[in-house]
Amino acid sequence: MIKFENVTKAYPDGTVAVDGLYLEAPTGKLTILVGPSGCGKTTSLRMINRLIEPTSGTIYLDDQPTSGMDAALLRRRIGYVIQHAGLFPHRTIVDNVATMPVLLGESRQKARMTALELMERVGLPANFAKRYPWQLSGGQQQRVGVARALASDPAFMLMDEPFSAVDPVVRAQLQDEFLRLQREIGKTIIMVTHDIDEALKLGDQVAVMRVGGKLAQMATPSELLTSPADAFVADFVGRDRGYRSLGFTNVAGTVAVSEEAVVQLGASAAEAQARASGAWVLVVDGGRKPLGWAQPELIGGELKREHLNLSGTSATSTGTMRQLLDAALSSPSRRGVVVNDSGELIGTVTASDIVKAIEAEPHLETAR
């Protein structure tokens, strides 16, 4: 657990970066500090490992005040990931990852073994071990940054905008992988971001801070969306929060899924016409995995791949209401494709079915 007790950071020129902050980051959970620039979120993070010293107040690491500790020893207990990875350019990837174990007195050989395991864990191929940072892309460097922070198996981790310097596709990928990793390792993490979507996606709990270094609200992502504490939080969380809160609502059993007649590639136009409901028919492969929608009246001869309309997304029956609604809205037939966890077709739903389910249960159970 990391705990802030009435922590203030004021600079000699009178600027108050953090103002009387109380905050608790529970053990094994990912707590996110989010807010506009100038809200003191990075300052708060950097006070935990004393890169910045608080002006007043106390920060506790598992009930021990950090102020009495040797700063270097304190930092060695905490993994640290920063925006541009901050890798050591003169060390190979494996030695970058081995930094903390070596610093803590492990033999270089043993530290490298640990490092290789961690590289695999964060999805870096073993042949990267002997490369230098400049030979890696931004996303790969960021993975090295995460592996390096984890190498000494610290109980705590601090992450300062870890995914914001990479392009959106890589960012989403790194976020997903990181969530999976955190589920396995269960570190006590505090992460700073300015991106509310990232906060809502990754956080077990989210602390929204306002300019002047005050805490505006601390809540789970779905609480932030459904009951923002004030106008600032509501505004910061964003406009389409009603829609986005569906991302925290489980589908499981709340919406009736209708059966959908299907055809396979190679079917004749007449067969497709017979199975179609309305203008569209759903096409699946041999394993009942959906391929796309087709319009039988446009098929001359047999059904081929080029006849498929691929615009529809699919939702899993264990996923969220948001995915389900998106599947219905994006489908050319207006029937959203629902699949099971192995991607096989279960059936389809319409947007009106989904909206009915939402209206029937205004307090749907949340996903976390």
Binding site: N49, L87, L103
Partner: protein
């Protein structure tokens, strides 16, 4: 070129070359050792930087001959003592390298320094294991300038009668005989090139991590 003179003088020329190397390289090493802490100080303090770099620039403008003559008064050495040359060239080397070392440390990416600190490196560990190693390319670039400059400055000491390749110039002028002058020039140039090459090799050995497209 009088080949016969050269072969007769071979032993003497080798002797002069040896002295030249010694008088050029010793100050280079001493100067670097002194410039490292001074450069670190200049890098650490924004107020010290302009002061140290300013003094260094000023020192470099003192004419070498004047320094060779003045140093005995300060060091208490005899005017013909080679130590004066070592002292003077050390001053020039320090003057060149203080700024180079400070700039080398400044060139280390902020993210890298911050990461080292955040991972629990103490200040001296960060300096020795991260900042100086990452600053090596900048330092060796400065060292190359200092090495070549020292090789040429040493020859001025011939005017004081201290033996090194410059003695070939004075000898040639006095005898109105060009062979020693040409031999001296060629040896100076070759020596400068060899020192330069050695520093390039040393840099390459110390920095296997730099992208391989370095222009040298």
């Amino acid at each position: 070129m009088n080949i016969e003179w050269l072969s007769r003088q071979f032993d003497n020329i080798v002797f002069l070359l040896g002295w030249h190397v010694l008088l050029a390289v010793t100050p280079l090493v001493l100067g670097l050792l002194i410039a490292l802490p001074l450069g670190w100080w200049a890098h650490r303090s924004r107020r010290i930087y302009p002061l140290l770099v300013g003094i260094a620039g000023l020192l470099y403008t003192v004419p070498s001959l004047a320094l060779f003559v003045l140093l005995p008064l300060v060091l208490g050495t005899k005017i013909l003592d080679p130590l004066n040359i070592v002292g003077a060239l050390t001053i020039y080397t320090v003057a060149l390298l203080v700024r180079v070392v400070a700039d080398a440390l400044d060139s280390v990416p902020e993210d890298t320094v911050q990461a080292a600190k955040a991972m629990g490196y103490r200040a001296y560990q960060s300096l020795l294991k991260v900042e100086l190693p990452v600053g090596v390319p900048v330092i060796s670039a400065g060292l190359r300038v200092a090495a070549v400059s020292n090789v040429s400055l040493v020859s001025v000491a011939a005017l004081l009668g201290i033996p090194q390749l410059g003695s070939l110039f004075t000898q040639g002028f006095q005898l109105r005989f060009f062979t020693p002058i040409i031999a001296g020039i060629i040896l100076c140039v070759v020596l400068a090139m060899i020192l330069d090459g050695l520093i390039i090799l040393l840099n390459r050995w110390l920095t296997p991590w730099t992208p391989k497209v370095v222009a040298s």
